[in-house]
């Protein structure tokens, strides 16, 4: 049951997708760490609500848009165009001569694969405390998109950034492929190969057999014949080419060596980032802090009057004089006109209204200090018209406890405009 609330929190922060989740969460944390916004109640409803309802109320009042995502989307568009432009250049740079297959393979397949490996290596370093030092271009990215306020959450931010960066590379390759298909549909491109070091066609065939191994079951791969016929040399006139299979090799190399590793890395980094973010939500105390503030309730209509500051007169027992009326008083050392509070209220009320009570002069209500003044005492006082003072007697009570009891009696005496004395036995 305890865990389900945090799962609700995770669902809330991930409601708009993984990409936005971190910003929603970090904005929430920053809000709670800011002394000015920390204690805001996000719901006026006096009834207790669920965590999700409080979070929704917070979202409506506090969450702002993230400009970094707009900038990032523009960057993606730029990378897609760059990829398309690069492919177009690679296809058209030779004009009428055959395109050396090595060039697009290196630019769009093997090169990206190598970059993916580097990226994977550096991604592992994001868990290091000095992570930002290993990514100078990330520092630039953070500065450019004003992510500095999330510096305190650097490890989490870096995981998100490293994940997002992969999409730039992927979009570059997608742009390249789209450009290839767009151009190849309306133009005839001839692919060949050329090499100074590989003299033997059989060697090239072996190399291609290795390169095309992942898809050789279902797509035509360049065989020895195609390799022989598609070789071209510098300063030699182009002959009759049979480049059957080269374009498929190019496309599938881009997919298998360029896109698939990058996609796998991206998925792995996405999982790493999501796991880290969920763990942060579960382990950080921010949800609990937030709920404490939201469910915090104060007493309504409670008395908050301060105590009077006058000193209370202390008198000896012998000084008690006049008509003494006892209240919940068990001690028989004093002679009382009447003991109130020990019999039934009806009997007390009858006496209080009687002529005996009304004719008393110099009345002193003597109460056991260990009791608490109540409404019944107030009713009795109201019925005892005339000059009345209040005296409290303590027996068998520590000084500390006496001091606490006196406060209640002092407040009561103030409310009923009575002269209070403490009897010192």
């Amino acid at each position: 049951m305890v865990e389900s609330a945090h799962k609700d929190a995770i669902r809330f922060f991930f409601a708009h997708g993984r990409r936005l989740a971190i910003f929603r969460w970090l904005e929430f944390r920053l809000c709670l760490q800011n002394p000015d916004t920390k204690s805001i109640r996000y719901s006026d409803d006096k009834k207790q609500q669920t965590l999700r309802q409080y979070l929704l109320a917070w979202e409506q009042k506090s969450l702002s848009d993230q400009p970094v995502l707009t900038g990032f989307s523009l960057l993606l568009l730029f990378m897609a165009l760059l990829g398309a432009g690069s492919m177009a250049s690679a296809l058209n740079y030779t004009q009428t001569r055959p395109i050396n297959i090595w060039i697009p393979l290196i630019i769009f397949a093997f090169g990206p694969m190598l970059m993916t490996l580097f990226s994977a290596f550096f991604s592992l370093r994001t868990s290091s405390p000095h992570a930002l030092k290993h990514h100078p271009w990330l520092q630039l990215f953070i500065k450019r998109f004003r992510l500095n306020r999330y510096t305190a959450f650097q490890p989490l931010m870096l995981r998100w950034l490293v994940w997002q960066i992969q999409s730039l590379s992927l979009v570059f390759l997608i742009g390249a492929l789209v450009a290839f298909f767009a151009l190849a549909t309306f133009q005839d491109y001839v692919f060949g190969w050329s090499s100074t070091l590989i003299k033997d066609d059989a060697t090239m065939a072996q190399v291609m057999a290795v390169v095309t191994w992942p898809w050789h079951w279902w797509v035509t791969v360049p065989d020895i014949n195609t390799i022989q016929l598609s070789r071209f040399m510098m300063n030699a006139q182009p002959g009759v080419f049979d480049d059957d299979g080269w374009w498929q090799t190019l496309v599938l190399s881009v997919v298998f060596y360029g896109m698939v590793p990058r996609l796998l890395l991206m998925l792995w980094l996405q999982w790493r980032y999501s796991t880290a973010l969920k763990r942060n939500i579960l382990l950080a105390g921010d949800i609990d802090q937030f709920m404490s503030i939201q469910v915090h309730r104060a007493s309504q209509n409670a008395i908050t009057d301060s105590l009077p500051s006058e000193r209370i007169e202390t008198i000896p027992l012998k000084a008690l004089a006049g008509s003494l009326i006892g209240w919940h008083f068990q001690d028989s050392s004093l002679t009382f006109v009447r003991h109130l509070g020990v019999a039934s209220w009806q009997e007390d009320e009858a006496w209080l209204k009687s002529g005996d009570a009304q004719s008393l002069l110099n009345k002193t209500l003597v109460a056991d200090g260990m009791t608490t003044p109540t409404g019944e005492l107030a009713d009795s006082i109201a019925l005892l018209n005339g000059d009345l003072s209040l005296a409290i007697v303590f027996t068998e009570l520590s000084e500390v406890r006496q001091a606490i009891q006196i406060k209640s009696w002092q407040y009561f005496a103030q409310q009923h405009q009575l002269n209070l004395k403490v009897v010192n036995e």
Partner: protein
């Protein structure tokens, strides 16, 4: 899940509001030493992560129990009708323009709506007959009921109360809301379960949830401490020294800035812990943090345009090599790149010499380089343990504090040595090594390790 509801009732000033505050973890329940502070019934829930587990209704004390009992007796035909008579009493009072018994109306209404009864008495004051009218009225409700003896000023009369209360209540417990730890709180909650069988399963679940939640809070509190320590340890402040004669002044300024920042982070940590443990109204008094450690300062060099010495030498070397390359190109490569090599070496050596004493580099009297005075990060191990100790003391104090305790919280400092003895030698060494590198930042695993040690230091020391 059924949400059990209990009305906390009793004579005025017996600690009802304190009990409600402690058991619902609400520190805004109004508590005062003046009797009659609570004037209306109000429900407070124990809410953990958005889920309500039970509700305690804080009520005003009985003010006219004898009168109310006499009213009930006068209007009651027989013992079987007591509950109906009580309900009639409430309807009668509600219909009057000014209720004659407003306090009894407030406290009895939730009971007749199904709340269980928790009757609170003060164990430091003797039992007397004035309480019998209250207990008799509660008997008339027919609701499940238990009694809590709150030893406000001591336990002098607890046994006397136990003897008297057991005649009216099936369950009697002693409970001090000011000092009750988690175990005592859950013991009282177990007693709630005994009151009414349909509530047993839910209350048992609640006890499990509370125990787990308490562990989670301590763990999360420790993580807040870890994050704050990382901020404090890694913080640096810098200031350029234009003239060496003002170094002492700059040093004082930096020290002040550093101290202020550490205090801010510490205060923020304390605020977060207060929120985490729901002590939102707590006032605390802690000794201000003082920085008195040696070797906090470091000297570095600054140059115009924010460069440092390494970058200047690197730039000069590159520029010299580029110039040499031009010469190499001019001779058609016959120099075999000697021009670039020589140019780079010469420029590098020249910039090395020039930047040897940066404070002497001036243009028309304006310094273009000099020293930078840096304070932090924190590498002094003794002070690191001081900060850790302060944080742990605070976390330990706030974790044990009940929500009825409204005194200004004063930090009890325990020697870190005493705390560290709870860890094995190996763990002490590992903790020390971890603290030594905290100023460089900790990865997630290291943060969790430090958090776990903090939890151990608190739990084992308390045990």
């Amino acid at each position: 899940m059924i949400t059990p509801v209990f009305a906390v009732v009793g004579h005025p000033n017996k600690g009802k509001s304190s009990i409600v505050a402690t058991l619902t973890r609400q520190d805004a329940v109004c508590i005062s030493e003046i009797s009659g502070t609570t004037t209306q019934s109000q429900a407070f829930e124990l809410v953990i992560e958005g889920q309500t587990y039970y509700s305690l209704i804080d009520t005003p004390g009985f003010q006219r129990p004898r009168q109310v009992l006499e009213w009930l007796v006068q209007h009651n035909p027989n013992a079987a009708e007591r509950r109906s008579t009580l309900e009639f009493f409430i309807r009668d009072q509600q219909q009057q323009p000014t209720a004659r018994f407003p306090d009894e109306l407030e406290l009895l209404t939730p009971i007749t709506q199904g709340a269980g009864i928790i009757y609170v008495v003060d164990g430091s004051l003797p039992y007397s007959a004035e309480f019998e009218a209250e207990m008799t009225i509660l008997q008339w409700t027919g609701q499940p009921r238990m009694a809590l003896i709150n030893p406000i000023g001591g336990e002098a009369y607890v046994s006397q109360w136990q003897s008297a209360l057991s005649q009216y209540f099936s369950v009697v417990r002693v409970f001090d809301p000011m000092t009750a730890d988690l175990q005592k709180q859950t013991t009282v909650l177990s007693a709630f379960a005994e009151l009414h069988e349909p509530w047993r399963v839910d209350i048992d679940k609640t006890i499990t949830v509370i125990q787990q939640h308490s562990k989670n809070l301590l763990s999360k509190g420790a993580m807040i401490v870890v994050e704050s320590l990382m901020q404090m340890f890694s913080f640096t402040a810098k200031n350029k020294l234009i003239e060496s004669s003002i170094q002492a002044v700059v040093q004082e300024k930096l020290k002040f800035e550093y101290q202020q920042r550490l205090r801010e982070v510490e205060l923020n940590m304390q605020r977060q812990l207060q929120s985490l443990f729901a002590h939102l109204n707590m006032q605390s008094k802690t000794e201000a943090l003082e920085i008195n450690t040696p070797d906090l300062f470091d000297h570095d060099q600054w140059y115009l345009y924010g460069l440092d010495r390494q970058k200047i030498i690197a730039l000069a070397t590159s520029a010299g090599a580029a110039a040499g390359l031009v010469i190499d190109a001019g001779v058609g490569g016959a120099s075999l790149m000697a021009g670039a090599l020589a140019g780079g070496l010469l420029s590098g050596a020249a910039s090395l010499a020039a930047t040897w004493k940066p404070e002497k580099l001036k243009i028309k009297g304006i310094p273009i380089a000099g020293k930078t005075l840096t304070i932090g990060p924190l590498t002094d191990l003794t002070f690191a343990f001081v900060l850790l100790g302060r944080a742990i003391d605070y976390l330990s104090m706030i974790q044990q504090r009940t929500h009825a305790d409204r005194r200004v919280a004063e930090l009890k400092s325990y020697s870190m040595n005493d705390r560290l003895k709870c860890l094995s030698k190996t763990e002490q060494i590992r903790l020390t090594r971890l603290l030594q590198r905290t100023h460089k930042g900790l990865n997630e695993a290291e943060q969790c390790q430090l958090r776990d040690w903090i939890v151990s230091l608190i739990q084992q020391h308390s045990a």
